[in-house]
Protein backbone atom coordinates (compact mmCIF):
# COMPACT_ATOMS: atom_id res chain seq x y z
CA UNK A 1 0.00 0.00 0.00
CA UNK A 2 1.22 3.52 -0.72
CA UNK A 3 2.35 5.64 2.21
CA UNK A 4 0.09 8.36 3.55
CA UNK A 5 1.92 11.54 2.51
CA UNK A 6 -0.98 13.97 3.04
CA UNK A 7 -0.31 13.63 6.74
CA UNK A 8 3.20 14.44 7.93
CA UNK A 9 5.20 14.28 11.13
CA UNK A 10 7.18 16.87 13.05
CA UNK A 11 9.58 15.96 15.87
CA UNK A 12 10.63 18.52 18.48
CA UNK A 13 13.36 17.95 21.05
CA UNK A 14 15.65 19.92 23.35
CA UNK A 15 18.84 18.75 21.60
CA UNK A 16 19.45 18.10 17.87
CA UNK A 17 20.84 14.61 18.52
CA UNK A 18 17.54 13.33 19.94
CA UNK A 19 15.50 14.10 16.82
CA UNK A 20 18.39 13.00 14.61
CA UNK A 21 18.49 9.64 16.37
CA UNK A 22 14.75 9.10 16.22
CA UNK A 23 14.76 10.07 12.54
CA UNK A 24 17.41 7.44 11.87
CA UNK A 25 15.32 4.84 13.69
CA UNK A 26 12.13 5.84 11.87
CA UNK A 27 13.61 6.00 8.38
CA UNK A 28 14.45 2.32 8.60
CA UNK A 29 10.72 1.49 8.51
CA UNK A 30 9.27 4.65 6.99
CA UNK A 31 11.38 5.96 4.08
CA UNK A 32 8.54 7.86 2.37
CA UNK A 33 6.88 9.67 5.28
CA UNK A 34 6.90 13.51 5.27
CA UNK A 35 9.09 14.15 8.30
CA UNK A 36 10.78 17.34 9.54
CA UNK A 37 12.44 18.13 12.86
CA UNK A 38 13.39 20.93 15.24
CA UNK A 39 16.11 19.93 17.71
CA UNK A 40 17.46 22.55 20.10
CA UNK A 41 16.98 26.30 19.75
CA UNK A 42 17.59 28.49 16.67
CA UNK A 43 20.92 29.48 18.23
CA UNK A 44 21.99 25.86 18.64
CA UNK A 45 21.54 25.84 22.41
CA UNK A 46 19.76 23.20 24.48
CA UNK A 47 16.04 24.00 24.60
CA UNK A 48 13.22 24.71 22.19
CA UNK A 49 11.93 27.86 20.59
CA UNK A 50 8.86 28.72 18.60
CA UNK A 51 10.76 30.20 15.65
CA UNK A 52 12.75 27.02 15.12
CA UNK A 53 9.63 24.83 15.40
CA UNK A 54 7.83 27.04 12.90
CA UNK A 55 10.64 26.44 10.38
CA UNK A 56 10.16 22.66 10.70
CA UNK A 57 6.42 23.08 10.17
CA UNK A 58 6.86 25.30 7.10
CA UNK A 59 9.46 22.91 5.65
CA UNK A 60 7.15 19.90 5.91
CA UNK A 61 5.49 19.12 2.55
CA UNK A 62 2.37 17.64 4.19
CA UNK A 63 -0.69 19.76 4.95
CA UNK A 64 -1.80 18.00 8.12
CA UNK A 65 0.85 17.47 10.79
CA UNK A 66 1.20 15.06 13.69
CA UNK A 67 3.66 16.42 16.23
CA UNK A 68 5.76 14.62 18.84
CA UNK A 69 8.03 16.20 21.47
CA UNK A 70 10.26 15.40 24.44
CA UNK A 71 9.75 17.70 27.45
CA UNK A 72 7.49 20.43 28.81
CA UNK A 73 8.80 23.60 27.17
CA UNK A 74 8.52 21.93 23.76
CA UNK A 75 4.84 21.41 24.47
CA UNK A 76 4.34 25.05 25.43
CA UNK A 77 6.19 26.28 22.37
CA UNK A 78 4.12 23.95 20.20
CA UNK A 79 0.94 25.45 21.61
CA UNK A 80 2.28 28.93 20.83
CA UNK A 81 3.15 27.85 17.29
CA UNK A 82 -0.35 26.44 16.79
CA UNK A 83 -1.56 30.05 16.97
CA UNK A 84 1.13 31.21 14.52
CA UNK A 85 0.64 28.75 11.62
CA UNK A 86 -2.24 27.95 9.26
CA UNK A 87 -1.33 24.25 9.09
CA UNK A 88 -3.41 22.03 11.35
CA UNK A 89 -1.13 20.71 14.11
CA UNK A 90 -2.03 17.66 16.16
CA UNK A 91 0.09 17.30 19.29
CA UNK A 92 0.43 13.94 21.02
CA UNK A 93 1.39 13.73 24.70
CA UNK A 94 2.81 10.25 24.24
CA UNK A 95 6.13 8.50 24.89
CA UNK A 96 8.39 10.26 22.38
CA UNK A 97 10.27 7.38 20.74
CA UNK A 98 7.45 4.85 20.83
CA UNK A 99 4.86 7.39 19.66
CA UNK A 100 6.94 8.70 16.78
CA UNK A 101 7.88 5.18 15.69
CA UNK A 102 4.26 4.00 15.77
CA UNK A 103 3.11 7.00 13.79
CA UNK A 104 5.83 6.67 11.16
CA UNK A 105 5.33 2.95 10.64
CA UNK A 106 1.57 3.37 10.21
CA UNK A 107 1.86 6.40 7.90
CA UNK A 108 4.23 4.34 5.77
CA UNK A 109 1.58 1.59 5.66
CA UNK A 110 -0.93 4.16 4.41
CA UNK A 111 -3.04 4.50 7.56
CA UNK A 112 -5.11 7.61 8.24
CA UNK A 113 -4.54 9.93 11.19
CA UNK A 114 -7.70 8.64 12.90
CA UNK A 115 -6.46 5.06 12.71
CA UNK A 116 -3.03 6.02 13.99
CA UNK A 117 -4.52 7.94 16.90
CA UNK A 118 -6.13 4.73 18.15
CA UNK A 119 -2.67 3.13 18.34
CA UNK A 120 -1.21 6.20 20.04
CA UNK A 121 -3.85 6.37 22.78
CA UNK A 122 -2.25 3.78 25.11
CA UNK A 123 1.15 5.49 24.76
CA UNK A 124 -0.01 8.69 26.45
CA UNK A 125 2.30 9.51 29.37
CA UNK A 126 2.24 13.28 29.75
Amino acid sequence: MAANTQTGMVLVSHVPEIVAGITKLIRQVAPDVALTTAGGTSDGDIGTDATHILQAIDANPATDLMVFYDLGSAKMNLDLVTDMTDKPLHRYDVAFVEGAYTCAALLQAGDSRAEIEKQLAPLKIK
Partner: protein, 192 residues
Protein backbone atom coordinates in the same frame (compact mmCIF):
# COMPACT_ATOMS: atom_id res chain seq x y z
CA UNK B 1 0.61 52.42 32.41
CA UNK B 2 2.17 53.94 29.29
CA UNK B 3 4.91 53.01 26.79
CA UNK B 4 7.62 54.92 28.68
CA UNK B 5 6.75 53.13 31.90
CA UNK B 6 6.89 49.75 30.18
CA UNK B 7 10.31 50.59 28.74
CA UNK B 8 11.49 51.65 32.18
CA UNK B 9 10.02 48.44 33.61
CA UNK B 10 12.04 46.38 31.14
CA UNK B 11 15.24 48.29 31.94
CA UNK B 12 14.75 47.70 35.66
CA UNK B 13 13.86 44.04 35.10
CA UNK B 14 16.86 43.57 32.82
CA UNK B 15 19.20 45.04 35.45
CA UNK B 16 17.67 42.85 38.15
CA UNK B 17 18.07 39.70 36.02
CA UNK B 18 21.64 40.59 35.14
CA UNK B 19 22.45 41.17 38.82
CA UNK B 20 20.87 37.86 39.86
CA UNK B 21 21.79 35.72 36.86
CA UNK B 22 24.02 33.35 38.84
CA UNK B 23 21.54 33.16 41.71
CA UNK B 24 18.71 32.15 39.33
CA UNK B 25 20.88 29.54 37.64
CA UNK B 26 21.92 28.17 41.04
CA UNK B 27 18.28 27.82 42.10
CA UNK B 28 17.62 26.04 38.80
CA UNK B 29 20.67 23.79 39.27
CA UNK B 30 19.18 22.59 42.56
CA UNK B 31 15.89 21.38 41.04
CA UNK B 32 16.03 21.91 37.28
CA UNK B 33 18.42 22.14 34.34
CA UNK B 34 20.49 25.03 35.66
CA UNK B 35 19.92 27.44 32.80
CA UNK B 36 17.25 29.84 34.12
CA UNK B 37 19.63 32.71 34.84
CA UNK B 38 21.36 32.50 31.47
CA UNK B 39 18.09 32.01 29.61
CA UNK B 40 16.50 35.02 31.25
CA UNK B 41 19.61 37.16 30.75
CA UNK B 42 19.56 36.28 27.04
CA UNK B 43 15.83 37.09 26.96
CA UNK B 44 16.04 40.52 28.57
CA UNK B 45 18.93 41.51 26.30
CA UNK B 46 16.80 40.52 23.31
CA UNK B 47 13.88 42.52 24.72
CA UNK B 48 15.98 45.69 24.94
CA UNK B 49 17.38 45.18 21.44
CA UNK B 50 13.87 44.42 20.10
CA UNK B 51 12.36 47.56 21.61
CA UNK B 52 15.19 49.69 20.22
CA UNK B 53 14.62 48.19 16.77
CA UNK B 54 10.78 48.13 16.74
CA UNK B 55 10.29 51.61 18.24
CA UNK B 56 6.74 50.80 19.37
CA UNK B 57 4.41 53.75 19.85
CA UNK B 58 1.52 52.22 21.73
CA UNK B 59 1.15 49.79 24.61
CA UNK B 60 -0.05 46.84 22.51
CA UNK B 61 2.92 47.13 20.10
CA UNK B 62 5.30 47.44 23.03
CA UNK B 63 4.04 44.31 24.75
CA UNK B 64 4.03 42.42 21.43
CA UNK B 65 7.66 43.35 20.76
CA UNK B 66 8.67 42.15 24.24
CA UNK B 67 6.70 38.91 23.79
CA UNK B 68 8.32 38.05 20.46
CA UNK B 69 11.83 38.65 21.83
CA UNK B 70 11.17 36.39 24.81
CA UNK B 71 9.53 33.68 22.71
CA UNK B 72 12.37 33.51 20.22
CA UNK B 73 15.32 33.94 22.57
CA UNK B 74 14.75 32.45 26.03
CA UNK B 75 14.91 28.76 25.10
CA UNK B 76 13.52 27.15 28.25
CA UNK B 77 9.90 26.96 29.40
CA UNK B 78 10.17 30.54 30.61
CA UNK B 79 10.25 31.74 26.97
CA UNK B 80 6.75 30.62 26.01
CA UNK B 81 5.44 31.41 29.51
CA UNK B 82 6.73 34.98 29.79
CA UNK B 83 6.09 35.43 26.07
CA UNK B 84 2.47 34.46 26.58
CA UNK B 85 2.16 36.84 29.55
CA UNK B 86 3.21 39.76 27.33
CA UNK B 87 1.15 38.59 24.34
CA UNK B 88 -1.94 38.49 26.57
CA UNK B 89 -1.15 41.98 27.86
CA UNK B 90 -0.80 43.13 24.24
CA UNK B 91 -4.28 41.77 23.52
CA UNK B 92 -5.74 43.35 26.68
CA UNK B 93 -4.05 46.74 26.23
CA UNK B 94 -6.18 49.58 24.91
CA UNK B 95 -5.07 53.08 24.02
CA UNK B 96 -7.44 54.83 26.37
CA UNK B 97 -7.43 52.30 29.17
CA UNK B 98 -4.28 51.35 30.99
CA UNK B 99 -5.77 49.42 33.84
CA UNK B 100 -2.79 47.66 35.42
CA UNK B 101 -4.78 45.06 37.41
CA UNK B 102 -6.68 44.07 34.25
CA UNK B 103 -3.42 43.68 32.33
CA UNK B 104 -1.90 41.57 35.11
CA UNK B 105 -5.02 39.43 35.25
CA UNK B 106 -4.77 38.76 31.50
CA UNK B 107 -1.07 37.92 31.82
CA UNK B 108 -1.56 35.60 34.80
CA UNK B 109 -4.45 33.74 33.14
CA UNK B 110 -2.34 33.34 29.99
CA UNK B 111 0.62 31.90 31.90
CA UNK B 112 -1.62 29.47 33.80
CA UNK B 113 -3.28 28.32 30.58
CA UNK B 114 -0.02 27.95 28.60
CA UNK B 115 1.72 25.85 31.25
CA UNK B 116 -1.35 24.04 32.56
CA UNK B 117 -0.16 24.61 36.15
CA UNK B 118 -2.35 25.35 39.15
CA UNK B 119 -1.52 27.31 42.29
CA UNK B 120 0.44 24.97 44.55
CA UNK B 121 2.26 23.12 41.74
CA UNK B 122 5.49 24.99 42.63
CA UNK B 123 5.75 27.07 39.47
CA UNK B 124 5.63 30.74 38.53
CA UNK B 125 1.82 30.43 38.57
CA UNK B 126 2.08 30.40 42.39
CA UNK B 127 3.14 34.04 42.12
CA UNK B 128 1.24 35.17 39.01
CA UNK B 129 -2.33 34.23 39.96
CA UNK B 130 -2.41 35.42 43.61
CA UNK B 131 -0.45 38.58 42.69
CA UNK B 132 -2.97 39.44 39.97
CA UNK B 133 -5.80 38.95 42.46
CA UNK B 134 -4.01 41.15 45.02
CA UNK B 135 -3.45 43.84 42.38
CA UNK B 136 -7.18 43.88 41.69
CA UNK B 137 -7.74 44.58 45.39
CA UNK B 138 -5.09 47.30 45.28
CA UNK B 139 -2.95 45.28 47.67
CA UNK B 140 0.05 44.25 45.63
CA UNK B 141 3.37 45.34 47.18
CA UNK B 142 6.93 44.04 47.58
CA UNK B 143 6.20 42.25 50.86
CA UNK B 144 3.25 40.38 49.33
CA UNK B 145 5.37 39.37 46.34
CA UNK B 146 8.23 38.14 48.57
CA UNK B 147 5.77 36.07 50.56
CA UNK B 148 4.32 34.43 47.45
CA UNK B 149 7.81 33.57 46.16
CA UNK B 150 8.92 32.18 49.55
CA UNK B 151 5.78 30.03 49.74
CA UNK B 152 7.05 27.87 46.84
CA UNK B 153 9.93 26.55 49.00
CA UNK B 154 8.14 23.84 51.03
CA UNK B 155 6.10 22.62 48.05
CA UNK B 156 6.66 19.47 46.03
CA UNK B 157 6.82 20.30 42.31
CA UNK B 158 3.95 18.89 40.27
CA UNK B 159 4.73 20.67 36.98
CA UNK B 160 7.89 21.61 35.14
CA UNK B 161 11.35 20.07 35.11
CA UNK B 162 11.50 19.95 38.94
CA UNK B 163 8.50 17.58 38.99
CA UNK B 164 10.78 14.77 37.77
CA UNK B 165 12.57 15.02 41.14
CA UNK B 166 9.46 14.25 43.18
CA UNK B 167 10.10 14.66 46.94
CA UNK B 168 13.58 16.03 46.30
CA UNK B 169 12.07 19.24 44.94
CA UNK B 170 10.85 20.09 48.47
CA UNK B 171 12.86 22.76 50.31
CA UNK B 172 13.96 24.78 47.26
CA UNK B 173 12.51 28.00 45.86
CA UNK B 174 11.05 27.66 42.37
CA UNK B 175 13.33 29.61 39.99
CA UNK B 176 10.42 30.73 37.77
CA UNK B 177 8.57 32.02 40.82
CA UNK B 178 11.68 33.95 41.86
CA UNK B 179 12.08 35.60 38.44
CA UNK B 180 8.35 36.35 38.33
CA UNK B 181 8.77 38.08 41.70
CA UNK B 182 11.52 40.22 40.14
CA UNK B 183 9.29 41.02 37.16
CA UNK B 184 6.41 42.13 39.36
CA UNK B 185 8.55 44.13 41.79
CA UNK B 186 10.19 46.06 38.96
CA UNK B 187 6.72 46.64 37.50
CA UNK B 188 5.66 48.27 40.79
CA UNK B 189 8.82 50.42 40.74
CA UNK B 190 8.23 51.55 37.16
CA UNK B 191 4.57 52.44 37.69
CA UNK B 192 4.77 54.00 41.14
Amino acid sequence: MNVEQVKQWMQLFSAEIEKNKDYLSQLDTDIGDGDHGNNMARGVKAVEAGLAKDQPTDLAQTFKSIAMSLISKVGGASGPLYGTAFLEMAKAAKDDENDLPALLQAAAAGVAKRGGAKVGDKTMVDVWLPAAADAKQGQLNDAVIDKLVAATKPLRALKGRASYLGERSIGHLDPGAVSTGMLLKTLLQATK
